[in-house]
């Protein structure tokens, strides 16, 4: 694979349906990871989902049923077709920290992000997806689910109740 310039990386990620996805270049440095990383990764993903109460506008676009929404916030269950990804993979020096994770739809986005990274295999510089927020949803999907503002208001209320019950406010 030819080294990608920023312009070519942006063209490719747009081809994959994510023209507004910010990219970050890194020089992948093989990094040893702790033997217990897998267990810690699962614990971290669970903890990450409980921090999403401030991502109502992105979640409302996903049209999640109310039960899925609550299960997600409570760290009980991941709704279908949601993936949590590393911004910088552990083997390339990424940390097992909440700030190194983001969420997106598995199909098509997480799968296409995998393809985007795989296509750069062997390059000195790898362009990695690095969305600004904790959840990536392409802007072209618009805002608001079936219920529009009503859905967002309802989810905001649920999120506030959950946050309050945790003593976060």
């Amino acid at each position: 694979m030819m080294e990608l310039s920023q312009a070519n990386a942006e063209i490719r990620i747009a081809d994959l349906g994510m023209d507004d996805l910010p990219l970050e270049p890194i020089r992948p440095t093989p990094t040893p990871i702790a033997p217990d990383w897998f267990k810690k990764y699962h614990e971290l993903v669970r903890a990450f989902t409980t921090t999403l109460t401030d991502c109502i506008s992105e979640l409302s676009v996903m049209n999640l049923p109310q039960e899925d929404f609550i299960d997600l916030f409570m760290g009980r269950r991941m709704p279908t077709n949601l993936s949590v990804r590393f911004r910088i993979p552990l083997v390339w020096g990424g940390k097992l920290e909440l700030s190194n994770l983001f969420m997106c739809l598995t199909f098509p986005y997480a799968h296409n992000m995998d393809r985007f990274i795989i296509e750069q295999s062997g390059n000195d510089v790898i362009w990695l997806p690095n969305p600004a927020k904790k959840i990536y949803m392409p802007a072209h999907l618009g805002s608001g689910g079936d219920g529009g503002n009503a859905t967002q208001d309802r989810l905001t209320e649920i999120a506030a109740q959950i946050a309050t019950s945790r003593g976060m406010e």
Binding site: M78, N81, P108, H111, D114, I118, S121
Partner: protein, 144 residues
């Protein structure tokens, strides 16, 4: 382990098993893979597709012979579409990607060997003689 034992085991862990498609659709998928120089379905997969199309556990997926639609949720792409998109990827020449989760991809080759692959570069991380073990690892690693 056989296919029904595998499906029973994975269902008991919460997997969703989508209903099988026709043998004709499976045969078409197999020949589509062959014409693109991917590995054809090993016997275990042909047997699995008698009982199921896609299987999903969390973010772990076994891909179906034809796309599975899920109402408002994005469809599960077919194993053919997944592999067509990778046709210019030298790392998997001669293999067929059959599953994924958020950490690994999974493949088989023409000799019926199954593989866990790094989802960053498709490097082989593990080889499996037992295909059911490979499919279980693919799904269970995706469980929340």
């Amino acid at each position: 382990m056989n296919t029904t034992e595998f499906l029973s085991s994975i269902k008991s862990r919460g997997a969703t098993v989508y209903p099988p498609v026709s043998k004709h659709d499976v045969a078409l998928a197999n020949s589509a893979l062959q014409s693109r120089r991917c590995a054809m379905f090993p016997a275990v997969f042909l047997d699995l597709y008698n009982y199921a199309s896609a299987i999903n556990l969390g973010n772990g997926y076994i891909f179906p012979p034809i796309e599975v639609s899920r109402n408002i949720i994005a469809p599960i792409p077919s194993i053919v579409d997944i592999n067509i998109n990778l046709i210019n990827t030298p790392e998997i020449r001669g293999k067929t990607i059959f599953g994924r989760n958020d950490l690994f991809w999974f493949a088989f080759d023409a000799f019926g060997t199954f593989y866990m692959l790094d989802n960053l570069n498709l490097r082989v991380l593990r080889k499996y003689d037992d295909p059911y073990r490979a499919m279980s690892d693919c799904l269970i690693a995706g469980k929340f």
